[in-house]
């Protein structure tokens, strides 16, 4: 190192294993070590929780101190000299591992965690070769005890690291897990023996460093080395939690968290996590087909299906103009699909009638999405309107809890219809207030924001969009009044509900529906009559159902687990998804099908519909997306709320 930096720069210098390190004051030794790539084994320490220093696995030698120090709980100090490789450290590690295995059942061969277990790994790397403790003397507990319908506990494997207890204390605040008894008889238990009720239980097996807490969904389903791991984004809501999609034998076996501190902070909700296996359904559309006026059905190749769709769409628009066609996408579309779909509608079919859902959502503006998820922690106060935001984006609750308990943010949960005046009074003086609302409460959120801003407070809004890519498809212009990037669409068209109603009344004669099965499900009569009366119904979708049954041209699509592209979360973060499963159909990608259709409709210069090509064109059209890249937030200039 060169000359000592000026004092008071908030940094502390120390030496670890002969390497000089400078870290901010208050850093824990464990983190300082990992800063320079030095691995210290840990069990109880956890990056998202406060230290407890109970496992003693991280003991290291610090010069001038008589005892070994726990790296996870020791704050660095100027001039500290640390040795993580000394004989004393190595002996302590070996000793702790011998203790940890003393009462351990050694049932790795039948343990779900085998292969990704810190106890196995560290025992191999730092542990003793043999046991000196008589195997007959081990303490036993009941094995495989259900703690709920989701989680099972094997107390014999538990190393009592306290992570599960602290998870419930610190991360969710629900305090559902306690420790009972003492000494070697200490055991994990639920509060008062009640089954766990949390909506975030699925995180437990992941924070558990061993195989004590396991997912009932995943028990005995795979060994980690058999899994193929794909980086993905949870499709259950628009919060956009990062996941690993772990598959085996062409089935999704589990979603595992993939820490993104800006979004999920490594936590998933149970709804999202346990939706994993729903992607393994074999009830899928596999072959294109064409239905004639008399109801006869023909199996065709995709080229013929596209040609037939083009012919029928042209037939109605030649007579009535593009305006007789209605186009519906959905939050199940990727950004690339959505962008291409609106282009097809507006430039080729020449219809302004396009949307991604039924509820009317006009004049959306970027101000509704100014607040980022992680920014919640730097607000002075956050106002959450009604229960909807947290119901629709459950992991938001954990971020709010962290903001409140670890960052001192005042979180005000108010009724969605509370008077803005009352909310302003309740918030009082604040530097920056976040206003969080569901997209169905846009108008109220706007009123609250302007009331707060009127009092001179800085305000940023977060709007919880509905559906996995609910935010992305809006950015991409699947809206009747807005083109990509919130540019006004001229002329403006009809929204989703009006399109269906017009189909019923006959002024819309053709429907093009891309992954609309989800948003149209359960709407009953309105959808049925629209589908029945429309002359042309072109459906691109994945699952059998009302749409497929009514389609005059049906082209199978790909599920979100079978394709690549990008999706955007509610704060505008553009994130990649990748194919984790082989496609259920031999039909090419939706991008390619849409491009083929454009070509068949007579459009020129559409290219082949390769993902790369579409993505480049999209980025050129929407510069905020080009700037966001992979994982950044798309930002627009935001006028004051």
């Amino acid at each position: 190192m060169t000359a000592a930096p000026p004092p008071g720069d908030g940094q502390v210098g120390l030496v670890i294993d002969g390497r000089e390190v400078r870290v901010p004051k208050g850093t824990l030794l464990l983190d300082a070590a990992s800063e320079v790539g030095i691995h210290i084994p840990i069990y109880c320490a956890h990056p998202k929780m406060d230290p407890v220093a109970v496992c003693r696995m991280c003991l290291v030698q610090v010069e001038k101190l008589p005892k070994l120090q726990p790296a996870c709980a020791t704050v660095v100090s100027e001039g500290m000299v640390v040795d993580t490789q000394s004989d004393a450290t190595a002996k302590a590690r070996e000793g702790m591992l011998e203790f940890l295995l003393l009462n351990h059942p050694l049932d790795c061969p039948v343990c779900d965690r085998g292969g990704e277990c810190d106890l196995q790994d560290f025992a191999f790397r730092y542990g003793p070769d043999t046991s000196r403790f008589p195997i007959t003397e081990k303490v036993h507990f009941d094995k495989a005890v259900p703690l709920s319908d989701k989680i099972e506990l094997d107390q014999e494997r538990c190393i009592l690291c306290w992570r599960c207890v602290r998870y419930y204390d610190e991360i969710t605040g629900e305090k559902e897990i306690v420790l009972q008894q003492r000494g070697v008889h200490t055991a994990v238990a639920t509060f008062d023996g009640q089954p766990l009720r949390s909506d975030y239980q699925g995180n437990l097996p992941e924070i558990c460093p061993v195989g004590a807490l396991t997912h009932r969904q995943y028990r005995f389903k795979a060994r980690p080395w058999d899994l193929i791991r794909t980086k993905g984004v949870c499709p259950e809501c628009s919060y956009g939690c990062n996941v690993f999609v772990d598959s085996r034998d062409f089935e999704v076996k589990r979603f595992a968290s993939r820490d993104n501190p800006m979004v999920d902070d490594m936590w998933l909700c149970d709804r999202g996590r346990y939706s994993a296996t729903s992607w393994n359904s074999t009830s899928r559309l596999r072959r294109p087909l064409v239905r004639d006026a008399a109801g006869g059905v023909r199996d065709v190749g995709v080229a013929d299906a596209v040609k037939e769709a083009a012919r029928r769409l042209l037939a109605v628009s030649e007579r009535g103009g593009g305006e007789v066609i209605g186009v519906l996408g959905s939050p199940d579309c990727t950004n690339e699909e959505a962008w291409l779909l609106q282009r097809l509608a507006r430039e080729v079919l020449r219809t302004p009638h396009i949307d991604h859902q039924l509820a009317e959502m006009l004049r959306l503006g970027p101000a509704e999405h100014a607040l980022g998820i992680a920014e919640i922690e730097s607000c002075t106060a956050v106002v959450v309107l009604g229960p909807e935001p947290e119901v629709n984006a459950p992991v938001l609750t954990l971020r709010l809890h962290k903001a409140a308990t670890k960052r001192g943010v005042a979180v005000h949960r108010v009724a969605a219809n509370a008077e803005p005046r009352d909310i302003t009074a309740r918030v009082g003086d604040a530097r920056l207030v976040g206003v969080v609302a569901d997209e169905t409460n846009r108008a109220r959120a706007a009123a609250v924001a302007s009331a707060l801003a009127g009092g001179g407070t800085a305000v940023k809004r977060m709007t919880v969009t509905r559906g996995g890519n609910g935010r992305g498809v809006k950015d991409m212009g699947l809206l009747p009044d807005l083109a990509p990037g919130y540019r006004p669409a001229v002329p403006a068209g009809m929204g989703g509900r009006a399109i269906l109603e017009s189909a019923t009344s006959g002024s819309i004669q053709a429907l093009l529906l891309l992954h609309a099965g989800g948003v149209l499900a359960g709407l009953g009569a309105l959808v049925e009559s629209a589908l029945r009366i429309a002359k042309v119904v072109v459906v691109i979708d994945t699952k059998p159902g009302v749409l497929a049954d009514a389609a005059t041209v049906l082209i199978p699509g790909h599920s979100l687990m079978e394709k690549q592209g990008s999706v955007t979360n509610l704060e505008g973060r553009v994130q990649r998804i990748r194919a984790a499963l082989p496609p259920a159909t031999s039909v090419p990608s939706e991008l390619r099908v849409l491009s083929m259709l454009a070509g068949a409709l007579g459009a020129e210069g559409w290219g082949s519909g390769d993902l790369m090509e579409v993505h480049r064109a999209l980025a050129a059209d929407v510069p905020a997306y080009a700037a966001a890249g992979n994982g950044g937030r798309a930002r627009w200039e935001v006028a004051a709320a």
């Binding site: 000196r132 403790f133 009592l160 000494g183």
Partner: protein, 433 residues
């Protein structure tokens, strides 16, 4: 010799357990006088001057501990540690049984010095009668205006709350005591922050032992300087010794610091019983290292005993005669720590279990000779590596005994039973403490 009886000087006097009886013998004068003579800061200075060190085990200078409280952070709390669960310790029970108002007066004086308005007496669950007695005395004292609002017209307010533990040794450790008092599972907390900064309910807190606090009325009345004159330079005042084991007269004896241990054994306790010879003794309580007859001339001075490789700890003295099996005593003590390990940290939770299993097999004579090396090794893997001192100290006696009586440990290996006469009797004695 009378001058060194301080805390026990009036014990046995009629009605000492009542307020009136205590007052008749000068009780609560210390409280009156502390308001009259000293500001809180001045009294802290007196305590520093007195050299008083904690009687709970660690011997930390009381005045210094008090001065760690951050200025201007209120409320603050005082906890009197009456959890006394260390094997061979029973002086706090004696002081409460015999002179409860002296403790209450000490608590109030400390509360005044620390500007505490809520003081707690955390008493061991098994000390049920003593708890009832203290509750009655607190009520009595309150009735006489020693507790509550505007105590004796001084303008100082203080409530005293007696809280019973649920029978865990670990709750004597100050942070576990605080956890337990707050209603949690009694287990030690991570330090820092120390209780002086963040203790009970997250506020600055002082934890002091019963005997430590019982000294305070005397320091008020006669001054820190006078107290400093008693005992040795760094172990001032007297201590109430809990003398037990193979002696003629087991019991509590108050003695000035600095006298030889031999005096305690031979004059106060009547010497080793039945004319037998002394084999070893353990000062300080079950946690401390064994000492030998050659150490009898050591003074009752914390530093001197520390230098000899043990500690005066919480003021116990357990003597063992020549018939004692050191393996058996070690086993019984190890069992205690195994039973009391709170389970929070790995080396103590698992280590005491391993230790205990091994000691039982050693005592039964079924251990292999090479397992003695294992014993040393697991003790080494525990000592200094546990979360709190309980786990560390679970190795101290057995390791010191193994060093001092190596042949005896070796003779047990594969012997098929205890080769030393008298093992069973010692077991009964240790178990009863």
């Amino acid at each position: 010799m009378a001058e060194y009886k301080l805390l026990t000087q009036h014990i046995g006097a009629d009605g000492l357990q009542t307020r009136a009886g205590y007052e008749r013998l000068g009780g609560y004068q210390g409280l009156r006088e502390v308001f009259r003579r000293f500001t809180p800061e001045q009294f802290i200075e007196q305590v520093k001057l007195s050299g008083l060190r904690g009687r709970g085990g660690a011997g930390f200078p009381t005045g210094t501990k008090w001065s760690f409280l951050p200025k201007d952070v209120f409320p603050r709390y005082l906890c009197c540690n009456a959890d006394e669960s260390e094997p061979a310790c029973f002086k706090d029970r004696y002081l409460i049984d015999e002179n409860p108002h002296q403790l209450i007066e000490g608590v109030l004086i400390a509360a005044y010095a620390l500007q505490v308005h809520h003081a707690f007496i955390y008493i061991r669950g098994e000390y049920h009668d003593q708890r009832l007695l203290l509750e009655r005395c607190v009520e009595e004292a309150g009735g006489a205006g020693y507790i509550g609002r505007n105590i004796l017209g001084s303008g100082f307010d203080c409530e005293v709350i007696v809280h019973g533990g649920a029978g865990a040794y670990i709750c004597g450790e100050e942070t576990a005591l605080i956890d337990s008092l707050e209603g949690y599972r009694g287990q030690p907390r991570l330090k820092p922050p120390f209780p002086a900064l963040k203790g009970l309910y997250g506020k600055p807190t002082v934890v002091n032992n019963v005997e430590t606090l019982s000294n305070l009325p005397h320091i008020v009345l006669r001054g820190g300087d006078w107290f400093k004159g008693i005992g040795t330079e760094r172990s001032t005042g007297t201590r109430v010794w809990c003398v037990s084991g193979h002696i003629e007269r087991p019991g509590c004896y108050e003695m000035e610091n600095g006298r030889p241990i031999r005096e305690l054994l031979e004059e106060e306790a009547g010497g080793v019983w039945q004319g037998r010879r002394l084999k070893a003794f353990q000062p300080g309580g079950g946690s401390m290292q064994v000492l030998l007859p050659e150490h009898l001339d050591l003074p009752l001075d914390m530093d001197a005993v520390m230098k000899a490789g043990s500690s005066l700890g919480a003021g116990a003295m357990m003597f063992m005669d020549e018939t004692t099996c050191m393996v058996n005593v070690s086993m019984r003590l190890v069992d205690f720590y195994h039973h009391e390990s709170c389970g929070k940290c790995v080396p103590c939770r698992e280590g005491t279990y391993f230790e205990s299993d091994l000691m039982h097999r050693l005592e039964a004579g079924t251990c292999k000779p090479e397992e003695l090396a294992t014993l040393s090794d697991i003790c080494d893997n525990m000592n200094g590596k546990c979360f709190c001192p309980l786990g560390d100290t679970a190795t101290w006696f057995v390791m010191s005994a193994y060093q001092a009586f190596r042949e005896e440990f070796e003779a047990h290996c594969g012997a098929g039973g205890c080769p030393v006469r008298g093992g069973a009797r010692t077991a009964a004695l240790v178990g009863a403490s």
